[in-house]
């Protein structure tokens, strides 16, 4: 599904190059649940953003299925991103001005899904996550765990092929974190490909494979 070969990503600061990723190659198959680990500054989030097409590598190749992403135009990349990716963030990143329902609805609007279809899909997901009662609340009226549930709901409401999660449990305490991880496990069993970044050894165990980064290199790649 994902083939990364010889990726490089660097920032130029006062004529000095700072590498975030160097010569990184990685293959991820459909149906995998990959955990990316590593110390701060190892390039985990950058890698995730590149996979999610929110960022581009400075060098190297990225194939998503058969599409050479590194050669695609911005517009086409955005299309791929829109239809294939779901994102979950550490800080939830819900839109403050929108209700739970409207937050979940947003990606469907951008996908131009019809109204009736939107309603049924959102109803399904609210039901599945047991947050029906919260649908008209605004983010600031929810606890962190509830917000992240909404975040996950928003990420998968459009039926993406790939779920990308950047420390999804980083701002949660353990009981809330486990709820989210159980959810991920369930999604994976239902066939979703997942790539998550985490610092938590325990949550890494939910996945099928752990990739450890250090200074922009893959230090270790272990299947569980």
């Amino acid at each position: 599904m994902i083939t990364l070969s010889n990726l490089e990503r660097f920032y130029t600061n006062a004529s000095q190059k700072t590498y975030v990723l160097r010569d990184l190659s990685l293959k991820i198959e459909e149906g995998e649940f990959v955990t990316i680990m590593g110390p701060s500054g190892a390039g985990k989030s950058t890698l995730l953003n590149i996979i999610g097409m929110l960022d581009q590598p400075d060098r190297g190749e990225y194939h998503f299925f058969d599409e050479p992403v590194h050669k695609l135009k911005e517009k086409k990349r955005q299309e791929l991103h829109k239809y294939y990716m779901g994102f979950v963030f550490q800080a939830y990143y819900l839109i403050d001005e929108l209700t739970v329902y409207e937050n979940i609805e947003t990606p469907l609007l951008y996908r131009k899904v019809k109204r009736s279809e939107r309603q049924s899909r959102i109803a399904d997901i609210l039901d599945r996550f047991q947050i029906v009662a919260k649908k008209d609340l605004f983010p600031h009226q929810l606890s962190g765990g509830q917000q992240q549930l909404v975040g996950v709901a928003r990420a998968i409401v459009g039926n993406p092929k790939l779920l990308l999660a950047d420390e999804p449990t980083g701002n949660l305490h353990s009981s809330q974190g486990e709820v989210i991880m159980d959810l991920f496990r369930q999604l994976h069993r239902d066939g979703m490909t997942i790539v998550q970044v985490t610092h938590n050894e325990k949550y890494a165990q939910y996945g099928t494979r752990v990739v450890e980064l250090e200074d922009g290199f893959v230090r270790q790649d272990v299947a569980l």
Binding site: T46, L54, F87, F89, Y93, E97, E102, P107, Y110
Partner: protein
């Protein structure tokens, strides 16, 4: 999608109340100003657009040269036989009509039963008039209303004034003026519902009713007697230029002899009637027009104010971008294409503009009477929102929304999600955006300072015009008009009895008082010269008390005496001004006793100089001083009496004067005015401009300050941490305020540097329109700059102080 945008736009506005309030307030004020100005401009541009075939309707105007090297006079008028002859001679001319009023009188006396009063704007017109100009007749038959002699057509307002609720048609009224009263039969009543006209008429009477009308009809003067307004309608498709090109030949055919005899050069032009009201600069125009330059200046100011409000929106939106950046990042991460985000942000600005226009419309409507009053408009503007008006308001929404929203929309939607979500500062507006914001603030302040300087200079010029020494004393003088020939017969008696009232120091009778337009002029040449070297001298008749009452100094010779009164109009005794002597080539000392000559239509006129007066400004200071003389006139021709009064209690004095009037002229209404007020009225346009620019300058400053205030709030917010650290390190309150205010002061100084030359350039151009003008002084720029600085400091320091007084522990903890 749209619903989603609207929803989020509403919630954004609601959540950021201060931001929305600042923007909404600014945009509402700006839009209200804009709409008012548009209404004002639209009103003035709508004059005479309603006549059927107005595109082919022209006024015949004349350029006159009275001597070989004299200045060309641009007259709104022409000689009596020209218009009808054009209809005869030119196949292109479909119809012609003449309009005239008696040149010697300002007002007409109207009498019906017990009611007697004066009315301005009455015209003698040819019977074809209503076939050229469209008036909505409330009663009567427009095309034939003036076919009969001694018929009159009244405005609905005048008809109501005379007859009340009674039907006007068929009634008889007496109209008097320079000659004896005549009876006229009312044959029509019209209102102004079709539109306004440059004539601004209150009544019309048929030309073939004797008096001045008869004079016009029997006149065969092709060169002189330029006091007629002639109108022609060309056939559809006829080219006015072709007609104009044949006019010199036409004049020669009819009047070659006359032109040669009195040495007048005359060129006729066709002026489109629709353009008359927005054209100033013609002599002897019927009404005070509003120049299109003035209207364009107003439109420019309207645009400026709206731009200033738009800049607020742009600035505040981009300053707030740090807050919005996260939302942009999220939306992009869930799949929003850039176009959708641009749409969303534009939607927000459109919504805000729509709200602003929605508020501005009723606001303007409510404020209209107040603003009309403030602007000192002679007639109230009214707002009737038709489809056109609403369409225009919608257009304004679109334009404003687009200008205000486009930059924030493109700027915000350009954020890279990976960057903003990680909280990179760079993503929320690099130095480029910062520069752009500063540039916008500078342009706002440049506009404001230009307006301040403009307002100050206009005010100065107005004061200059009002305060300038005119060569006579205009203070504490009352002017009593004698509009009627019968009244004039009693003028001398009235004058001598008036002098018995102790508060009256002196009194003088005259044809035209200072400030009233002079209609008589004679081209005069020196002994041994000819008409080709004649100097055109304006004149008016006065009595022997003229110099003493108005305190005009004589430089040489003597004053006029009662014995000087001309026995015949062909032998005049005159006191000339210095300017006339200068053009004739005499010194004041040698002038007394010299005889001047003029040949006019087989007549020989002589004018003997008995005295020389200083250059009195008898006419508006807007025009260059012209050669002028006074002659001892016959009291029967006098239309004004000026009295010098010394009193603190005008009501008591004026009741005494009125009692005297009632005794002598019991059946004529008494009127009076103050000479200084009459003269101040000459500068009505400048006064209106001064008020408008003043009011809109305040608006622009207010709106700019609102924006600056908003910006300073965000700047202080952004620098909360920096301020906290500085305070922990021991910075004083003053130091922090300085730190935060310094940036804005720099911007204001830059704006001042940019605006000064701009304002200087614009105002020099404006002042060039005046023959007599104040200089532009350096302190004006300093004052404008200081005003801008003080206002800026006051606006910004509020936030700076708040930031400086904040608890550093509090601000650092939040990090």
């Amino acid at each position: 999608m749209l619903r989603n945008y609207l929803k989020i736009a509403f919630r954004q506005l609601w959540r950021n109340k201060s931001f929305s309030a600042i923007n909404l307030f600014g945009l509402t004020l700006g839009t209200a100003c804009c709409l008012y100005i548009l209404l004002y401009v639209q009103h003035h541009r709508s004059y005479d657009r309603h006549h059927a075939g107005v595109e082919n309707l022209y006024r015949i105007i004349s350029d006159l040269n009275l001597s070989d090297d004299g200045e060309t006079m641009h007259m709104a008028t022409c000689s009596p036989p020209i218009a009808p002859a054009m209809q005869e001679d030119f196949p292109e001319v479909e119809l012609a009509a003449r309009v005239c009023s008696h040149p010697a009188i300002e007002q007409n006396l109207i009498r019906h039963g017990e009611k007697v009063f004066y009315e301005t704007k009455g015209y003698y017109v040819d019977s074809t008039f209503f076939r050229l100009f469209d008036y909505h007749f409330v009663a009567g038959d427009a095309p034939h209303a003036l076919d009969e002699p001694f018929s009159a057509v009244l405005s609905a307002k005048l008809a109501r004034k005379i007859f009340g609720a009674e039907a006007a048609i068929g009634q008889t009224i007496a109209i008097g003026g320079a000659s004896r009263e005549q009876d006229f039969k009312v044959t029509g009543v019209y209102d102004h519902s079709l539109g306004r006209s440059h004539l601004e008429p209150e009544f019309f009477v048929s030309m073939n009713s004797g008096g001045i009308g008869g004079y016009v009809r029997n006149n065969n003067s092709w060169a002189g007697n330029n006091f007629i307004y002639g109108y022609v309608r060309l056939r559809p498709g006829a080219d006015p230029q072709t007609v104009e090109a044949r006019l010199p030949e036409f004049l020669q055919t009819h009047g070659a002899e006359q032109f040669a005899e009195i040495n007048i050069k005359k060129v006729l032009h066709l002026q489109p009637v629709a353009e008359i009201h927005t054209n100033t600069g013609l002599d002897a125009d019927q009404s005070t027009n509003t120049s299109s330059t003035f209207l364009r200046i107003l439109l420019l100011i309207a645009g400026f104010i709206q731009l200033v409000a738009c800049i607020n929106f742009m600035n505040l939106s981009t300053a707030r971008s740090i807050r919005r950046a996260r939302e942009v990042g999220i939306r992009k991460a869930v799949g929003a294409p850039r176009a959708a985000l641009i749409g969303q942000f534009l939607g927000e600005s459109f919504l805000l503009t729509l709200l602003a226009v929605g508020l501005a419309l009723p606001l303007m409507r409510l404020a209209l009477p107040l603003v009309n009053n403030l602007m000192g408009l002679p007639e109230a503007l009214e707002w009737t929102p038709g489809w056109k008006g609403l369409g225009f308001a919608l257009l304004l929404v679109l334009a404003t929304g687009l200008i205000a929203g486009s930059y924030p929309a493109f700027y915000l939607s350009g954020f890279r999600p990976a960057g903003v979500l990680r909280g990179l500062r760079r993503a929320s507006g690099g130095s480029g955006a910062e520069m752009f914001r500063k540039g916008l603030v500078v342009s706002q302040f440049t506009i404001s300072v230009v307006l301040i300087i403009g307002a100050l200079i206009i005010r100065q010029q107005l004061n200059y015009l009002l305060d300038k020494d005119l060569g006579f004393d205009k203070e504490q003088k009352i002017v009593i008009p004698f509009h009627d020939a019968r009244a004039s017969e009693k003028l001398e008696t009235f004058r001598s009895e008036l002098l018995r009232i102790p508060e009256i120091g002196a009194a003088t009778g005259m044809e035209k008082a200072p400030g009233q337009s002079l209609v008589s002029d004679i081209p005069l040449y020196k002994e041994g010269g000819s008409m080709s070297s004649a100097v055109d001298i304006q004149m008016t008749g006065v009595d022997e008390n003229f110099f003493q009452t108005l305190q005009i100094d004589l430089l040489a010779g003597r004053s006029l005496t009662r014995a000087d009164t001309a026995v015949s109009y062909n032998d005049l005794l005159v006191v000339v001004n210095e300017k006339a002597l200068e053009e004739l080539g005499y010194s004041p000392e040698e002038a007394p006793g010299k005889v001047l000559h003029s040949d006019f239509e087989n007549q020989h006129i002589t004018a003997t100089i008995v005295g020389v007066m200083e250059n009195v400004h008898y006419q508006t200071l807007g025009a260059e001083l012209r050669p002028f003389m006074v002659t001892a006139g016959a009291p029967a021709d006098f239309r004004n009496l000026i009295a010098d009064v010394q009193t603190d209690d005008y009501p008591v004095l004026m009741s005494k004067v009125e009692a005297l009037w009632q005794k002598l002229l019991p059946d004529l209404p008494f009127e009076f005015s103050f000479l200084d007020a009459d003269i101040a009225r000459l500068y009505q346009t400048e006064r209106t401009l001064s008020r408008i620019v003043g009011a809109f300058t305040l608006m622009a400053i207010l709106i700019s300050c609102l924006g600056l205030f908003g910006l300073s709030v965000f700047a202080a917010e952004q620098r909360t941490k920096e301020i906290g650290i500085r305070k922990v390190l021991g910075a004083s309150t003053v130091g922090i305020v300085q730190l935060l205010s310094k940036d804005y002061l720099k911007l204001v100084v830059l704006a001042l540097l940019l605006s000064s030359p701009l304002a200087y350039f614009i105002m020099t151009k404006w002042l060039d329109h005046f023959a007599y003008r104040t200089g532009i002084e350096w302190w004006v720029f300093l004052a404008a700059g200081l005003a801008a600085l003080v206002v800026t400091l006051l606006t910004v320091s509020f936030q700076s102080l708040k930031a400086a007084w904040s608890d550093p522990v509090e601000s650092l903890r939040s990090e």
